[in-house]
Each structure stands twice: as C-alpha cells, then as structure tokens.
C-alpha cells in the first residue's frame, strides 16, 4: 500500500505539469493483481492531493460518483482550512469533516 501511494503521488507530480486543474484525475489504473483496489487521485488548485483507495469488490463506482465524492471532500477540506486554528499539515480533527467523510463511505462500500 505504501508503495502504491508513493507511486500515485509520483504520477500526480508528473501530471502536474500539464493539467493541474484537472479535477478529475481519475487514476484508475492502479490495480494490483492481488489487491484489487483502485486508487483515485484528485488534486486541488493548491496542489493538495486527495487519494482515495477503493476496494474493487463492490461494483465499480461510476466516474461521476467518484468525482462527486471528491468534490464533497474538497469542499469539506476547504471548510476545514478556513478554520484559523487549523494548521495546514496537521491531522484533520474536525468533527464536521469526519462526519462528512463518514457519510461518503457508505456510498463506496
């Protein structure tokens, strides 16, 4: 998993060169033979990356669903950012954020 995420990050960096604003960046290619999971990447305009790892056991999620999830994630993240008490880089401990993320889970699982 660790390697995967690193690879994902690397790929993202390469992707930065061109369409950084590409919200979708559906990185749907990372499917290991054993661990069949999909990794989705999403990059914000400020180069904050969201990586979503989804188990492929459930029916493959549609691209739009993933996008919408990322949008929500992005929106919640910006809300967290607005909090002056939040230092970028810290672990996010916002309850609202956590609840939002949790609400996304059932869609994926």
């Amino acid at each position: 998993m660790v390697h995967t995420s690193l690879d994902v990050v690397d790929e993202k960096i390469s992707a930065m060169g061109k369409a950084l604003v590409d919200q979708r960046e559906l990185y749907l290619g990372l499917l290991y033979p054993t661990e069949d999971y999909k990794v989705y990447g999403y990059v914000t305009n400020s180069k904050v990356k969201f990586v979503m790892v989804v188990d492929s056991s459930n029916t493959a999620l549609r691209d739009n669903e993933i996008r919408s999830m990322f949008r929500k994630l992005h929106s919640s993240y910006t809300d967290v950012m607005c909090n002056p008490f939040y230092n970028p880089g810290d672990r996010i401990q916002s309850r609202a954020f956590d609840s939002m993320v949790a609400s996304l889970m059932p869609q994926v699982c």
């Binding site: 305009n45 400020s46 910006t78 809300d79 607005c82 008490f85």
Partner: protein, 764 residues
C-alpha cells in the same frame, strides 16, 4: 396581550418556569398539562386558575405561548397577593411578589418566589456578582432563613438565584440554581428550602461584592443542593429545560464582568452550558461581546479576520481542538472571518465551554448569526440567530438549524438569566489584537491567484441581499444591486472584498475569505460600477447616483488595484475614473482597462483583470452606439456613456462590442487581474473590457427588474436570478482562470527545467 413589564427577577423566574413547562422545548408553547399543574400548585382556587387562563389569552389561543404564560404567572402573583384579578393589574400592581407555587416542585418555586421578591432590591446591587465567589458560604446562606427576604449577603446558596444575580442583572440567580441543580440533580428541593431564595437575592447583592458568594455557590454545588431548589423545577423532568433556561441567566452574569473578576473561572462554570435556551446570550453578555468585538474590529459591521480571532480565542486557554470546533460552529458562512454575530456566538461557546458545558455538535439556534442587520438584534438581543433568517427563504443556511425559520419570531420575553460570564484572563490586558480584517481581506499577494478553492456560498450573500432588500425600502431607485451594494457598504469587509474582487478578480477565487457575498454582490457591483463609469465619465462622481445606491466607501479602491485603477483612469482622460473613484459601488475599472491604450498595462490589471479575450479594438466608433442601445442602462448612464464614448472612442469599443455581443458574457473577471502576467495583460484588457461591458449590461438589466417590482419577494427572486447569472459568469471565469493557471504552470515547469540544466551537478 396587554403590555407586560416584568422586573428582572420576574423575568428570570418566569423564564425558568416557562422552561420548566416547556417540556417539548418548543420555547413557544408551554405544555398545557404542565402549566395547569403549576397553577394548581399555586394554591389558588380552581376558578381563579380558570380566570387567569382566560385572562392571559391562553384560552383564546388554545395554548400557552410564552407571553401568555408570563401574563398568567403575573396574574398568579396578583391573585396570591390578594389583588383582584384584572387585566390591568398586571402592570399596575407594583412590587408584586413573585408567584408562589406550592407543590413538590414548588418548594423551589416558592423559594424562588421568595427570593425573587426580594431581589428587586437586590438586583441592582449585584453588579459584580457574576462570578459569585467560589467559596461563598453558601452553606451559611442556607442557614439564613429564607423568610427574610432581605437581602442577605451571604447566602450563596441561594445561589441558584444568586449566580444569576450577577452583576448586572439581578435576576440571575437562576443560573445558579440551575447549576447546582445540575450537579445535584437529585438534590432538588429538599434540603433547605428555607434558605430560601429570598435571602439570596439580597445577599447576593451584598455577597456579590464579596464575589465570593457567587463563586462559592458555584463551586459549592454540593453543599447546597437544596439551593437548587430554585431550580428545582429543574430537578424534575425539566432538567433539561432548566438547563436551557440557565444559559440565559448565566449569560447575564458572565457578561458583565469578566474582566475584572478573578473568579471568573468559577463563574464560568456556572452556566454556560446552554443547550437550548441555555445558549441564549443575555443582553449583558451580548454587550460584552460586542465590546470585545470592537477592540478587534471597530467596525461593527465588519469582519474579524481568522488570525485575529484565533489569537483572541487562544487567550481563553481552551485547547486548540476545542477552539477549532468552536470556530467551525460559529463561522457560519465559512468565510474564514467572523462577523459580529459569529463572533458573539463563538465567544458564547467559549464561555460555555469554560464553564464546563460541552460544545454542541451543531450551532444552537440562538447562536445562529443573524443575517439581518444588527439593528434587529436590539429586540432580540439574546436571540441572535432567530431573527436573522426571516428574510432569506432560499438561502437559509443550511443545515445548521433546521428550525431556524421557526425562530424568526422574537419572543416577547427576554432573556434570561445571567450566565456566568467568563472572562479571559488576558482580557484585562486588552486584547487588542489583531489585525484589522482589512489586511486579511485583501491577500497581500495579488498574484496568489488561487489559494484554495473557495466554495462559494450563495447563502450568506442572499441573506445579505435580503437585508439589503429590507433596507431598501427607502431607496426608490435602487436596483436590486443596490441593496447589495448597500449591504456591502455595511460590511466594510465585504466592500473591500467586493472592491478587491472587482479589481482583482483573482482575489475572490484565491482568497479564502471571499465569501459568496463578494461574489454575488460583486457582479452587481461591477455592473453598477460599470454603469456608473459610463455615467460618470466626464461627469462628476455624483452622477453615479442613479443606479448605485448611496455611494459606498469605495471599497474597491482599498486595494492596490484601486490605485491602479485610479491611475488608469487618470490616463484615460479620467472620465471613467472619476466616476469610479467617486462612486464606490461602481466597479469602474472594468470597462476602462480595455480602453487604455495598450501601454497602460495597469489598466487591465486594475480594471478587471479580465483574462484576455479577443480584443475587438477595431470597432470603436461603431460600438458606441451600442451603448446607447443598451436600454438597460440607466438613462443617465447611457448619456454619460455616450459622453464618454465621444471622449474615448477607443476605450469603449471593446467594451461595447463585448456588451453587444455577449450580454451575459462571463462576469468581469476581477480575479483574472491578479493572475495575469504582463504579456497577458493586454489581451486581458480587451477581454476585460468586454466582459465589463457585458457584465454592466447584465447588471444594468437586473436592477431595472427589481425596481419595478418593488416587493421584497420579487426582489428576492430577482436577486436569485442575478445570482444565478453571476454563478454562470463566475463559473466561466473560473474555467478561464484555470486555463490561465495551466499556462502559468507550464511556464513554470519550463523555467524549472532550465534551472535544472543550469545546475546539472547540484543533485549529485
């Protein structure tokens, strides 16, 4: 109902009783069953009870609303005092003792009554009370016969009442009792019923001076469980309601003093919790909050930037996580800055937390920021959130409080009890903190472009729009945008944002602080400004009057861009500039930039930072007529425009064509400005002007719509329409900006590659 004037003590008492009866926590209606039970406990003959019910209007309404309930309570007191029951007696009987209710739970009530009755005198003296001295010998109070109504200094126990007593308001003690109560839920009425409320009040007054009592009261919850009696209502099922009531009382207390008292910490304990009603902010508290707000941000209509708020609240020594949570709850519009209401809510939450109350998961309704102008708050000082939403149908913020709409009505009563106000320890040391939000609003670096995507919330702006519309009653010709403009003027920050947005479109995107307000109002402002510009060209700034509402403080010029704009205008024969500078609302630069001859690079930047569009320079003269053709524009503007056009043929051409061609072209892209690089300025300028023109056209048309309507609802619809248009425009702007960003990134990459080449060995 007849006007009902209640003393402070009465108010508190009544509110507590009401909360007690308000088992459904509706805050509006007291359960009939409870109420009747209460009345029976008053030991009045049944027919008297019936008569009271009738008099207070409950029979008419079928339920006991808060006002009915209070009137009924007053009548009970009247009846108990032996006075004939009449409607007039409500207000004519002076020094009416508090109604006494005898019954299991009423022990406390009676106690309370006693205490209340005495408190009228005492109340005044409580000034310092809020933080009842921790150690107060409440116990001793207990011993004091409650019969003695006289103010006895000591009785902390009374605390229940005393805490409330807090300084400013006498009523208070209820919070105390509540507190105690909460601590000893079981204790209830029992123990010392005698110590009785009465003495407390007075003692408080005196005790307060010692301040010990209050604190003692709080701290000594244990000793005086009985004290709670007062709260005893609370003991019983309504505990929760009592809690709610409390906050009010606690609040009273706290507000006051905080600063001075070292015991504030104790007090804080008192009550802050308010989980429903408890979250109400009393007048004192609110005043205190407002004063604190002023120390940070003199403009009550402005915002406190996030960093300033952070420093301020950090002084309260709460853990960062909790402060973070408080921020999440209170920053209603998620703009990274706190308005006065948001600040009060946050402060209140901090007070509550320091007093030991847990933070709620969602913002209590009473803490909802009022979206309507603060002037409304006067009526509902303690119910900040409720009034706010009356105006905004659609936007209703969201989720925070589903019941908000129901809170729109202001309750006749007041708030409640005094709450222990907590003061930050540093407070005395003056919290002059931080920065003016001004600096925050306009990010220092205009080129920052996009810091992070900022979800644009239309809600706040819409709400503000409503405010504006409300305000607009007077202004006749104000366009729909006017309200926004007006509103923005109220919020200096918004103005700034707007202005900055206008001038540096990038700002809104990049700046996390830019709220939707800026966005929504922006286009309109821009439109207005554009309109104005035209109108102003060559004419005095006053000409801008027609479309825009009262001239705003030129928020747009606050930013550097405004300087550029000024410069730009200066260059451009100053026609538009004059208008622009003079009229805050107008977003002058827009059209201008295009006009400036290529050399004036600033212009494009200043004006709108529009991203380059295909410039349509060539058609200058032919375009001009387009201006005139825009019926949407104010006649005035049109005339001005024509004037301008004559003067600056080239300036307008781009604008005109843009107007004519794309009436709804992407909104002026003030944001763009920031992002542009020098080489892009030119093309952007053209684009900018075009966009400006289009935007102006769009905006111009918009104003006319609402005006004709003249009704709030229609205005709201119009504003909704406008907002939608703005949204589309902004969406396009966003896409364009992203494109720009991509280009810039490519440049950057190429530069980095070059750098790498120049330092081939650095990585070895």
């Amino acid at each position: 109902m007849e006007g009902l004037t209640l003393s402070d003590a009465e108010q508190k008492y009544y509110s507590d009783l009401f909360s007690y009866c308000d088992i459904e926590s509706t805050k509006k209606v007291a359960a009939n069953g409870r109420v009747l039970e209460l009345f029976r406990a008053a030991q009045l003959p049944n027919d008297v009870v019936l008569q009271i019910t009738e008099l207070c209007g409950a029979k008419r309404l079928g339920y006991f609303g808060r006002s009915q309930f209070y009137i009924a309570l007053k009548l009970v007191a009247v009846a108990q005092s032996g006075f004939p029951l009449r409607v007039e007696s409500i207000n004519t009987v002076k020094d009416l003792p508090l109604p006494r209710f005898v019954a299991s739970k009423n022990e406390q009530e009676s106690r309370h009554a006693a205490s209340y009755s005495s408190d009228s005198e005492n109340q005044g003296s409580y000034s310092g009370v809020i933080p009842p001295p921790p150690g107060r010998g409440q116990v001793k109070k207990g011993s004091v016969s409650h019969d003695t109504v006289q103010p006895r200094a000591a009785a902390d126990q009374q605390e229940p009442a005393s805490p409330v007593v807090s300084p400013q308001q006498s009523p208070p003690a209820s919070p105390h009792t509540w507190r105690k109560h909460t601590r000893h839920p079981s204790g209830g009425n029992s123990e010392r019923p005698l110590t009785g409320p009465g003495p407390f009040w007075s003692p408080f007054g005196e005790a307060q001076s010692g301040s010990s009592a209050g604190d003692a009261v709080w701290s000594g919850h244990s000793p005086p469980p009985p004290q709670e009696n007062w709260v005893s209502f609370a003991d019983t099922p309504p505990t929760s309601t009592l809690l709610t009531m409390h906050p009010a009382s606690v609040q009273d207390q706290t507000t006051v003093r905080t600063v001075a008292s070292a015991t504030t910490a104790n007090e804080i304990r008192r009550q802050s919790s308010s989980y429903d009603d408890p979250w109400k902010i009393t007048d004192e508290q609110r005043q205190y909050y407002v004063n604190q707000f002023k120390t940070i941000q003199p403009d009550l209509n402005g915002f406190i930037p996030g960093s300033a708020a952070k420093e301020f609240f950090t002084k309260s020594k709460l853990p960062i996580l909790e402060l973070s949570h408080i921020w999440e709850l209170s920053d209603f519009d998620k703009d990274g800055a706190l308005t006065l209401d948001e600040f009060c809510a946050a402060f209140h939450l901090v007070v509550a937390r320091k007093n030991g109350y847990d933070l709620p998961e969602k913002l209590p309704e009473s803490l909802m920021p009022k979206l309507i102008d603060l002037e409304d708050s006067a009526d509902v000082g303690d119910q900040p959130g409720e009034v706010g939403y009356s105006g905004s149908p659609a936007e209703a913020p969201p989720s925070k409080s589903p019941s908000m709409p129901s809170l729109n009505q202001t309750w006749p009563e007041l708030n409640q009890s005094s709450e222990q106000w907590e003061t930050f320890s540093e407070r005395s040391s003056s919290s002059q903190t931080l920065t003016q939000f001004d600096s925050n609003i306009a990010p220092a670096d205009p080129d920052t472009a996009i810091v992070h995507p900022v979800p644009i919330r239309m809600t706040p702006s819409k709400i503000h729009m409503q405010e504006m519309e409300l305000k607009r009653t007077g202004s006749d010709h104000t366009n729909p945008t006017s309200p926004l403009l007006v509103k923005t003027s109220d919020l200096s920050e918004e103005n700034k944002i707007n202005s900055s947005v206008k001038f540096a479109s990038g700002n809104t995107v990049a700046d996390g602080y830019s709220s939707s307000d800026s966005f929504t109002s922006d286009p309109e402002q821009i439109g207005n400004s554009v309109t104005h510009q035209r109108s102003h060209s060559g004419t005095s700034p006053d000409s801008a009057a027609p479309p825009p509402p009262p001239p705003r403080p030129q928020p747009s010029h606050s930013r550097s861009s405004s300087l550029d704009m000024n410069r730009t205008f200066a260059v451009t024969t100053g026609q538009q500039q004059v208008g622009v500078v003079a009229h805050p609302p107008a977003v002058p630069p827009r059209p201008q930039p295009a006009q400036a001859a290529g050399p004036v690079v600033h212009r494009p930047v200043d004006a709108d930072g529009l991203i380059t569009h295909t410039s349509t320079s060539p058609q200058q003269i032919p375009e001009q007529p387009n201006f005139a053709d825009f019926s949407q524009f104010e006649v005035f503007a049109a005339s001005n425009v024509n004037e301008e056009q004559d003067d600056e043929a080239e300036k307008h051409p781009e604008v005109l064509p843009s107007k004519g061609t794309t009436p709804l072209a992407p909104p002026p892209k003030p944001v763009r400005r920031r992002l542009k690089s020098e080489d892009e300025l030119r093309p952007e300028v053209d684009e900018h002007t075009q966009k400006t023109g289009v935007l102006a056209a769009v905006l111009a048309s918009q104003p006319s719509i609402p005006r004709s309507v003249g009704k709030d609802k229609k205005a709201i619809q119009a504003s909704i329409r406008r907002n939608k248009e703005t949204n589309t425009v902004l969406a396009r702007l966003n896409s364009e900006l992203q494109q720009q960003l991509k280009d810039v990134l490519e440049e950057r990459i190429s530069l980095e590659v070059q750098l790498e080449q120049l330092r081939p060995f650095s990585h070895l």
